[in-house]
């Protein structure tokens, strides 16, 4: 089927400033900013403020920070920003599981208001009723979306939310005197790796279910894993493959029967808003990433919020505080009798919660459903096109639709041309695109993961696929070209071997200078 408009692949080149490391810009004597002065009266009275410090704790040698004037600092970081391809700049559908959707700029305006930025978390409650109202309302929205009974926004990200879930599960069993006996958590290989890793922090042994021929975890496998040692199930659904497990409620049933609790990793919720809920599958706990499904921007890796929800019977275990609404007032509740305590300071990353609030308010129930529908439509549209690409495949669920993302494979391409998934990713950078492989381990060989979300137009989706198509063409005709990419990016092929070697790795500039003696940019 041919398009009326032939989609062009861009003649892209990323900005390339060859910008040195900040320390290399230092000129003795330069100042970037001056700080508030101490008033003369105070100087006269206190004289030498540092004299109260005992000698052994005084810092006599100034920290070796660079000395740079203000404009040069600005220029430096602005140039670095141009060396960065934010979602706002590209068709960012190639970061599967990350939900790189549009982060509305109006929300950025709202969080920059002093009524947000200049609030201290311990101010008297009467002075932050607006903030508490926002938090409370998002709590109620998420209760509706998940079907669960109480949310906390304290975890600073999805993985932290999983830790909180594992902590609550542990505390619950402890209350029943079964914590020692129940020392196993069950998860699946296509769930997020943190489902296992965070549970391990709480001392749990992990049993990971591998997939069946359909790419799904099997009830039979689960039955093999449950026992009287089962503390709970932590599972992502739909999994990273984008396939929804239709037997998910059978899973929770089996685990409940064994006496365990069930935690739902709903970081991949973008395709199921208003379609299916945690409660319907009988989960006891679930979490959403406000910086994914709910549009708060990713910020290069945070700040973020993993909003954690629980059924009524687990409310007393939540980290404190939570927000309550009584008699027309919002307040912070600290006295939850079985609380796990804290997973993060204060009550959460308020700006992120506010952005989620604004996003939900601007969409409403109909809008959220549309988000889910279009995200899934976009994903299946791209799926069809990629299946038509030579060398690419979408393992599992053959002939069936996916939810919000797909884990694809370049296995055939690699076999036939020697070009690997990694090579394709680097070549995509030449067109101004990101592409991601997969979480570890690579169960799907030569993987690549695409999650379109609802934010990109049909034309943009076509543009992205056209990029992949071009690279596939190149792989078959001239694989060396792909294997030596990127050419139009900020730098060329990076030598990663030193990063594995304790004698060579350099995590800071000073370490680099110590080990290698000179500027890496010097010839």
């Amino acid at each position: 089927m041919t398009e009326e408009k032939k989609i062009k692949v861009r003649n892209f080149h990323q900005a390339k400033w060859d910008e040195p490391i900040i320390f290399e810009l230092s000129v003795e004597g330069e100042r970037g900013i001056r700080i508030p002065e101490v008033e003369k009266d105070i100087e006269d009275l206190i004289v030498e403020g540092l004299s109260v410090l005992p000698e052994n704790i005084k810092r006599n040698k100034a920290p070796a920070l660079p000395e740079i004037s203000q404009m040069r600092v600005l220029k430096h970081f602005l140039r670095l920003s141009q060396h960065c391809l934010g979602a706002d700049f590209n068709v960012d559908i190639g970061q599967g599981t990350c939900t790189m959707k549009y982060s509305p700029k109006i929300n950025e305006v709202l969080v920059r208001m002093p009524e947000v930025t200049e609030l201290h978390p311990w101010q008297d409650e009467s002075t932050v009723q607006g903030a508490l109202e926002i938090v409370y309302k998002v709590d109620t929205f998420l209760r509706e979306i998940s079907g669960l009974d109480q949310f906390t926004f304290q975890p600073g990200g999805g993985s932290a939310a999983i830790l909180a879930m594992a902590s609550i599960i542990h505390a619950f069993h402890e209350t029943n005197g079964e914590a020692d006996q129940r020392d196993e958590i069950i998860t699946t290989i296509f769930s997020h790796p943190s489902d296992a890793a965070a549970a391990a922090v709480k001392g749990y042994k992990l049993i990971t279910l591998y997939q069946n021929e359909d790419g799904l975890p099997d009830v039979e496998a689960l039955q093999k894993a449950v026992s009287e040692r089962t503390a709970g199930l932590l599972i992502t659904n739909p999994e990273d493959t984008g396939i929804f497990n239709p037997k998910i409620d059978e899973f929770t049933k089996i685990v409940h029967q064994a006496g365990g609790l069930c935690g739902y990793d709903q970081a991949n919720a973008n395709g199921i808003l208003g379609v299916t809920r945690a409660r319907d599958a009988d989960f006891d706990l679930c979490f959403f990433n406000l910086h994914k499904t709910f549009s708060s921007p990713h910020g290069c890796g945070g700040p973020a919020v993993g909003a954690l929800g629980v059924k009524e019977r687990l409310k007393d275990y939540l980290p404190v505080p939570i927000v309550e609404y009584k008699e027309d007032k919002y307040s912070l509740k600290y006295d939850l009798p079985n609380s796990i305590g804290k997973v993060r300071a204060f009550l959460g990353v308020f700006p992120v919660i506010l952005k989620a609030y604004a996003w939900i308010m601007t969409l409403g129930a109909e809008g959220l459903k549309e988000v889910a529908h279009i995200a899934v439509l976009n994903n299946n549209y791209v799926l069809k096109k990629i299946r038509e690409l030579k060398g690419a495949s979408a393992p599992y669920a053959v002939g069936r639709h996916r939810i919000e993302q797909v884990r694809y494979s370049w296995e055939k391409l690699t076999e036939e041309t020697g070009v690997t998934s990694e090579d394709v990713i680097y070549r995509m950078a030449d067109f101004g695109f990101h592409l991601w492989t997969s979480h570890h381990p690579f169960v799907v060989p030569e993987p690549f993961s695409i999650e379109p979300t609802e934010s990109y137009s049909k034309e943009e989706l076509d543009e992205y696929v056209a990029g992949l198509e071009k690279i596939v063409e190149e792989a078959y005709e001239n694989p060396e070209k792909v294997k030596n990419a990127p050419y139009n990016s900020v730098v060329h092929r990076i030598d990663h071997s030193t990063l594995d070697d304790p004698e060579k790795w350099a995590i800071t500039w000073r370490a680099y200078l110590k080990k290698h003696g000179k500027d890496p940019a010097e010839k």
Partner: protein
């Protein structure tokens, strides 16, 4: 007749239009239809056939009606936010893990850039800038901390402290950590949850007069089971732990690690913990150019020496610098870690995910602007202003400040026991004067009675501090009735 038709058409259009959302390009019915046709479906529902009926949510989610325009959204949210009274028009003396420092304009300029704001996990090619910015963050912090390895930021100090303790457990193979009882209650709570049930937390007493660690108690409690000793310096309550070196020595003599939490704002004038024997240093970067954000501006750091056995235990990402295929170019990447031998009882290296990278980049900008002299001057300014405040407040009858004797940095405990008034009431009274008084410590640190934690930074002018003095004088005066 014509008029009615026009009306109808307009109505028709606006109905159609309502289905199209500015954030969802393909919600345009024609586009949707075209795409559905291309993939061979007639109804979106067909895409959900994998989800069985009994798991389907029926009906409509009970959420507020959508705000139809961006203008409506702005007005709506602004009206809610206007119920907040910020530290812009109130004098704020609250600290305790979130502090009001000056945020240079360039910090906000950079962290608002879409390139950084909306980037995430691209490769060190097209996202080279993100790697370089965070590598520079690590490097600048390294100079402030005088240590060679610093991680990409984690959630906050609570997480950094928790991971620090678990790292000590893994490195030493031991299961107990000794924690000073003057650390932040929030951090203690997080450490407890993070350790349980794999590691045990034992508390260390402090000297009631000075607040510093009770060395005798330490010597009794330390054993061959101790993985590390965690204390904070400056303490949560602001006093300076001057015995750092002694504590580190005791730790090392017993095969344990010295673990210190520090506010990096203090490091322009106070010796970094690595210089008095700390093996793992942690803390928060919020004071380095990030707005308070109601507690949302936090970012945790962990620093160690550049030794394999430490580096291998970080759960966080560590960005390193390296070469590329082109001479003269440098590139970045994750410093990967592979263990070479297994030790009994070892568990995984925790987890890593989305943490607080944008604040890390912000801190990099801040430290680049401040430079060595900026940080020195900042420390000095804070010392002078806080000492001035303590001096003035101590002139008020009934107030003992600072409660602990000895030098303090930025924060100090104001002891109100002599006024016979409750901190709760004092703060309410201050509130009516548009002042946020220090955090009430009476419930968490009951041995201090009616005491509050006050924080003075470079943003407080002499006028501000004199206002506080005047206000408190009035509020605690015996003549004042409640």
């Amino acid at each position: 007749m014509k008029l009615i038709l026009k009306e109808e058409r307009r109505f028709e259009m606006s109905q159609k239009d309502k289905r199209v959302h500015p954030y969802i390009p393909n919600s345009v019915p024609e586009t949707k239809a075209k795409m559905m046709e291309e993939i061979g479906i007639k109804d979106i529902e067909e895409l959900y056939t994998d989800i069985p009926e009994h798991l389907r949510f029926k009906g409509k989610l009970n959420l507020p009606e959508a705000l139809s325009s961006e203008y409506a959204l702005k007005r709506h949210v602004e009206s809610i936010l206007s119920k907040n009274q910020s530290c812009k028009d109130h004098l704020n003396f609250l600290g305790g893990g979130c502090w009001q420092h000056y945020v240079p304009a360039i910090c906000d300029e950079i962290n608002q850039r879409s390139e950084f704001l909306t980037a995430y996990g691209g490769e060190p090619y097209e996202d080279h800038g993100r790697f370089q910015a965070l590598f520079e963050y690590e490097s600048l912090m390294a100079e402030l901390l005088d240590m060679d390895v610093v991680n990409v930021p984690t959630y906050d100090w609570c997480q950094a402290a928790s991971t620090t303790v678990r790292m000590a457990g893994r490195i030493t193979g031991r299961q107990e950590v000794l924690v000073s009882d003057t650390v932040s209650p929030e951090r203690l709570s997080a450490i407890r949850n993070y350790c349980h049930p794999v590691m045990r937390v034992k508390m260390l007493k402090h000297c009631p007069e000075t607040g510093v660690l009770d060395l005798d108690d330490l010597k009794i409690k330390i054993s061959s089971e101790t993985a590390g000793i965690y204390f904070e310096n400056p303490s949560f309550m602001g006093f300076i732990e001057h015995q750092g070196e002694v504590v580190s020595n005791i730790a090392h003599e017993n095969g344990a690690l010295s673990l210190v939490g520090v506010d990096p704002v203090s490091l322009g004038v106070i010796l970094p913990p690595g210089n008095y024997g700390a093996d793992i240093v942690c803390g928060d970067i919020q004071g380095l150019g990030v707005h308070m954000n109601f507690g949302g501006g936090l970012g945790g750091f962990i620093a160690t020496r550049d030794e394999e056995r430490y580096v291998m235990e970080y759960p966080s990402r560590l960005f390193g610098i390296t070469k590329t295929s082109v001479e003269g170019e440098y590139g970045f990447g994750d410093v990967a870690y592979e263990r070479t031998s297994f030790a009994e009882r070892e568990e995984g290296k925790e987890f890593v995910g989305t943490h607080a990278a944008l604040w890390g980049i912000t801190a990099a900008v801040y430290l680049s602007l401040m430079g060595p002299r900026g940080m020195q001057e900042l420390g000095k300014t804070i010392m002078q202003k806080s000492q001035y405040t303590m001096l003035k407040l101590s002139e008020i009858q009934g107030i003992k400040v600072p409660h602990f004797t000895g030098p303090h940095f930025k924060e100090f405990v104001v002891d109100f026991n002599g006024t016979r008034k409750k901190v709760k009431d004092i703060n309410k009274a201050l509130l009516s004067k548009k002042i946020y008084g220090g955090k009430d410590l009476s419930s968490e640190f009951s041995e201090l009675g009616e005491s509050a934690l006050y924080c003075v930074t470079e943003i407080h002018s002499k006028e501000d501090l004199d206002s506080l003095t005047r206000a408190l004088s009035e509020v605690v005066s015996p003549n004042r009735k409640y």
